[in-house]
Symmetry: C2
Subunit: 213 residues, 2 copies
DNA sequence: TAGATTGTTAATCGATTAACAATC
DNA sequence: TAGATTGTTAATCGATTAACAATC
């Protein structure tokens, strides 16, 4: 029931999870905030503050047990629960996401693919058939869908969002270049690739300024 | 030579750009911070503060000229300059990015595709042939490359990064799940899709808590 | 001129860092 | 026990919001 934890903290959690996983893979079984600090380039203070938003996972004089902390962060992030995902818009990006196998071990599973393009009908990606978008309502009524990934042009993204929301989907992973207005109980996570590219471009000009006055 | 502008501000700039573009498309030619505030759900104060980091683009009593502001933000983000991109790792994600046409109008152009998989050799995406990675050094010597997009497994991402850096590439668009350590004059923009999905998952649990205590 | 809205300074709020007592 | 390192409070720093004089 922990509420109101700042999004700055949340943004760092998956990164902790990743580092801890690597430590696990390397057979490290304990780590101090000081050592983690060095490898992550974050202050030890921030690490301890971040973790203590969720509970005291460490032990004075010892540090943190890697496996335990890893699993606890996993639970915080909801990775102990299964999440079923449908992908709406099976263009290049939609296909890439559907094919991406690394999501499965984290509990995210593709269960349905939808498009408007009849040429795709019946094709399969990792054994999942591509369905036409008009089959979506029936599908949503008969399957548990936790997340809808929107990988379609922005003009169509809004209606797709409205459609899935009207069938009770509560989470949208939005790759379309629109900001979706959704009710309070729905969550949206945006992945705007061109925004990312523009920030990179900004940093490039800043580091290698041409002749800006 | 504007330096030290906070990354919180930079993170918002592409979004302003997008909203202004939409206003332009709709034939709107002036906008006040108050009106923009309403549609973007940001305070008017923040909008004015953000913009004034770069200069006074508005006019008292009038607001901002949409076309002018749009173009100025474009310049700030470096969109007035051409950026040549190579994609290393032409798997599903690499193909998706290579096919994404929306980057071109922003000045980002794919100029080379590289992979290790011989089966891909000679295939083309949008008229760009896929080359083998051992052709990369020669390519870098003969072509202007501004950005290297790394869309390959994390084990290979580090060596790919080292390789392009040794040939003078100064910007990396990193989709691999590693944090790259790079020299000071190199910029890295990370797109970690699974991090994004984990944040979404966190928000889902927060809004619809199961039986957490 | 009167009204509107910016640019900018000052006030508030929140996030990061530092310090240290608690404790394993 | 002595040493190490956490959890947590206090201090600092930075970002957001509010207010208002400047000015178109």
């Amino acid at each position: 029931m922990q509420n109101g934890i700042s999004s700055a903290v949340i943004r760092r959690m998956p990164r902790y999870y990743r580092y801890l996983e690597e430590l696990l893979d390397n057979g490290v079984d304990r780590i101090s905030s000081g050592d983690l600090s060095k490898s992550m380039h974050i202050t030890a203070s921030q690490i301890r503050q971040d973790l203590n938003n969720f509970g005291g996972f460490g032990q004075q004089g010892y540090g943190y047990n890697v496996k335990y902390l890893h699993d606890e962060i996993g639970k915080i992030l909801g990775l102990d629960q299964r999440h079923n995902i449908i992908v709406i818009g099976v263009g290049n990006l939609g296909q890439a996401i559907s094919n991406y196998v690394n999501f499965d071990p984290l509990g995210f599973h593709m269960v349905g693919l939808f498009d408007v393009n009849p040429a795709l009908k019946g094709k399969e990606i990792r054994d999942i058939p591509i369905r036409m978008i008009d089959e979506l309502p029936e599908f949503l009524e008969n399957h548990q869908v936790d997340i809808a990934a929107l990988t379609l042009p922005k003009e169509k993204a809004k209606e797709a969002a409205d459609l899935v929301l009207s069938f009770g989907v509560k989470a949208i992973w939005n790759f379309a270049l629109v900001d979706l207005d959704v009710p309070d109980d729905v969550v949206v996570e945006n992945v705007h690739l061109s925004d990312s590219l523009m920030r990179l471009s900004y940093d490039i000009s800043r580091k290698n300024p041409k002749e800006d006055s």
